[in-house]
């Protein structure tokens, strides 16, 4: 059969459910075969390849499966670059198939040729260019295996046009052999014992939980460990949902815009148990001043993340789930009452608050969305102030309920990610909520109609503050209030009309009462996306905040100004 048919059959054999794609000359043969073969997977025609890549990320993060993207050569391929970089930074398993000019023309500046393997070299976990139709099936098998296992990440598979025409025998391999690919799995028993001993000896232990815990399907075990040993838990942005935030042991998020009490706990604890986290600079602030009294136990699958920024006194390298499984029976209930009382005192002294003065505050909107959506919500956010407010004020109780762009901080991620998540979660009863700023939402708003076509009842919130809010905040705090090119009011569309033009429902709220009504109305819509525009004050800022380069306990806790 043809290479293109082998491609289609391979995706079926791999169990792919959804492909986010966009056709073009180099992959026209695949599209032709899809029309002819009516494959078992669904192809979603996105309106921009970047949207497609983020949709695949959202799908992967919501379901735990690998996301799939199919694009043409040249501009189709380069349009996926931002999504690939995003997936690389956030360890999201996606496979991106890019068309390529025929092998004989490679390197000759043919029409729509880009060396996409070269372009994406430092932002992929691995990449392949298929040189023979016979290599297609094994390469596809390997690509999914690499994307999914170990520390997950994006894989690019480049498909020269001629190999899609070439004939070969189809056989989907059962196993993958990659000599140089070692997935660290079983953690060393002596390290587990050392970790257990350190936990036993600690008086003020703290669990610092990152996205690796969710990627490694270890959230339940983590929760069990925290509850059994009575250890308080703080999570990173990507760790949100790994531990239920309505548990008294939860401290919410730590770091730059984390809670004051989480950061105080970091600065006073005598043991940090880092689980699937990488000591990112948004978490640690000034590295030398971070957790000055703590020994560090680090459970981590990627050896290159251990002792990279903070030295691990005990490094448990391997599958985080296995490590927790082994660790759990060795840990006894601890008497942490005094430590927990201290934390409660910090919580009481400086809780997360916002102004309740009759104006429509974005934090209020997020609290209301959280209450309305309940436990089966899956939230995606874009990048900016609304992202931090969501992390602070939405209550996450389940793993995979919070999807955001953390490492790369990609504006335009949030809504297409919601599209992908909603595609993956059809029939599960989950409510997909997408929280955006007015700036980033417009960067991939073209996918609205795609969500409408599939009748996905995504609840889209656009926090319209008329500004690139997060940049405005920095300009206000650190650049003497020179608001250089952050005002969006003269380039923003009418969001309600925009939604309607794309076949979605558009609603607008400017007061808390209207917001309540709009949210209620949105939840009555079941057959298409609803865009809720919340018009909020531009002056609102995200607090608490650790200024860049400061120690984490050196927080600006709150600052109200007159408006």
């Amino acid at each position: 059969m043809s290479g293109a048919e082998i491609f289609v059959r391979s995706l079926e054999a791999e169990g792919v459910e959804v492909v986010f794609g966009h056709p073009g000359g180099a992959v026209i043969k695949i599209y032709d075969e899809m029309a002819r073969l009516k494959p078992r997977f669904e192809h979603v025609l996105v309106r921009h390849e970047q949207g497609g890549t983020h949709a695949a990320e959202g799908y992967a993060k919501a379901t735990g499966k690998v996301g799939t993207v199919l694009v043409t050569s040249g501009p189709g391929a380069t349009n996926t670059v931002t999504g690939i970089a995003d997936a690389f930074m956030d360890s999201v398993p996606i496979v991106v198939f890019t068309g390529q000019v025929p092998t004989a023309l490679i390197g000759g500046d043919a029409f729509q040729e880009t060396d996409i393997i070269g372009v994406t070299r430092s932002i992929t976990k691995h990449s392949f260019q298929v040189r023979r139709a016979a290599d297609l099936a094994p390469t596809i098998k390997a690509a999914y295996h690499i994307a999914r296992t170990g520390r997950p990440g994006p894989v690019v598979v480049d498909l020269p046009k001629d190999i899609l025409m070439e004939e070969a025998v189809f056989e989907y391999p059962e196993t993958v052999t990659l000599r140089g690919y070692r997935v660290p799995e079983e953690p060393l028993p002596e390290k587990i014992e050392q970790a257990a001993r350190m936990i036993r000896q600690a008086k003020r232990p703290l669990l610092y939980v990152g996205g690796g815990t969710i990627n490694g399907n270890a959230a339940e075990l983590l929760t069990a460990l925290a509850r059994k040993a009575r250890i308080p838990v703080t999570t990173t942005l990507h760790g949100l949902g790994a531990f239920p935030e309505n548990d008294p042991l939860s401290l919410g998020m730590l770091g730059m815009h984390g809670t004051w009490y989480a950061n105080m706990a970091v600065q006073h604890c005598d043991l940090i148990i880092a689980v699937g986290a990488r000591f990112d600079d948004r978490v640690t602030g000034k590295l030398d001043a971070w957790a000055p009294h703590a020994k560090v136990v680090h459970l981590e699958i990627d050896p290159s993340c251990v002792s990279k920024n903070v030295y691990a006194d005990c490094a448990v390298v391997g599958d985080v789930r296995r490590a927790l499984e082994r660790l759990l029976p060795l840990v006894e209930p601890k008497d942490t009452a005094a430590w927990l009382a201290q934390i409660d005192a910090w919580k009481a002294r400086c809780p997360l608050t916002y102004r309740q003065d009759g104006k429509l505050r974005p934090q209020y909107v997020i609290r209301r969305l959280s209450e309305r959506a309940g436990d089966n919500a899956v939230v995606t956010t874009d990048v900016g102030q609304h992202q931090m407010w969501t992390a602070q004020f939405f209550t996450f109780v389940r793993p995979r309920s919070h999807i955001t762009s953390g490492g790369l901080g990609t504006m335009g991620f949030g809504f297409p990610a919601a599209l992908g998540a909603a595609m993956g979660l059809r029939g599960t009863g989950a409510t997909v909520v997408s929280i955006n700023g007015d700036g980033g939402f417009l960067m991939n708003a073209q996918e609205l109609r795609v969500a409408a076509k599939y009748r996905l009842p995504i609840k889209i919130a656009v926090m319209n503050n008329g500004y690139l809010g997060m940049v405005r905040q920095w300009q206000e705090l650190f650049h003497e209030e020179r608001y250089s090119h952050t005002d969006l009011t003269d380039t923003n569309p009418d969001f309600v009309k925009l939604a309607e033009a794309f076949g979605c429902v558009g609603l607008r709220a400017t007061t808390p009462e209207e917001a309540d009504a709009v949210i209620e109305a949105a939840w009555q819509v079941h057959d298409r996306p609803v865009l809720m525009e919340f018009v909020v004050p531009k002056e609102e800022m995200v607090f608490p905040m650790v200024p860049a380069g400061a120690a984490t306990d050196d927080m600006i806790v709150q600052r109200f100004r007159d408006e």
Binding site: R121, S122, V310
Partner: protein
């Protein structure tokens, strides 16, 4: 200035030391040269990934040599880089993380065999010809090409020997030079064993 004057807790001092950092900020650890041996799948693009890693991750790359091994599907890289202990540890881990690397080894400077080859073209006259040949003799360099104006020497040895040879020849006027970069292996039997 002592650690306590810097307001470091005992834990912070331990952490810094364990990371190979000097505790005083004004005396950072001096970078040291390392020779790293990598066995690599002989795939298209595999070498690119290794070289790219150094620039993308902001590590210094002094030289790389590549060639096939006894197994034609595997090539061997000798990389010379320099960095602090912490940087080198990270380079090794990142190299190991690449899918095409089969093994990565930081060669112990006291237990390695290393060679570099250098071709050196020198202009000569009747007056200095004999001296050039004397120097070559001491370094066991061979003449591999000769014209009425120039002689091309080939010298092999540890990088230090090559450097010394080049240093001796420099006053005579180097017309052209090509160095191979190092190739190295761990000694089968380390000295003193």
């Amino acid at each position: 200035m002592s650690a306590t004057e810097l307001n470091l807790t005992q834990q912070q001092v331990l952490r810094k030391k364990a990371n190979g950092e000097t505790v005083l900020p004004d005396a950072p650890e001096t970078p040291r040269r390392h020779v790293i041996a990598v066995l690599l799948e002989n795939h298209v693009g595999a070498l690119n990934r290794v070289v790219n890693l150094f620039s993308a991750r902001n590590f210094n790359l002094e030289s790389v040599t590549v060639g096939v091994t006894e197994d034609p599907a595997v090539s061997r890289l000798t990389i010379v880089t320099s960095g602090t202990r912490r940087q080198i540890k990270q380079v090794l881990r990142l190299l190991d993380r690449l899918l095409d690397t089969l093994s990565v080894e930081d060669l112990d400077p006291d237990a390695l065999v290393e060679r570099e080859l250098c071709l050196l073209r020198i202009g000569y006259t009747k007056a200095n010809r004999a001296e050039l040949m004397d120097i070559a003799d001491i370094f066991r360099a061979r003449v591999v090409d000769v014209t009425p104006e120039t002689m091309t020497f080939e010298v092999t040895g540890p990088a230090a020997k090559v450097n010394a040879f080049v240093g001796m020849m420099r006053p005579h006027g180097i017309v052209e030079m090509a160095r191979s970069g190092r190739v190295a292996m761990r000694r089968a039997l380390a000295y003193g064993d």
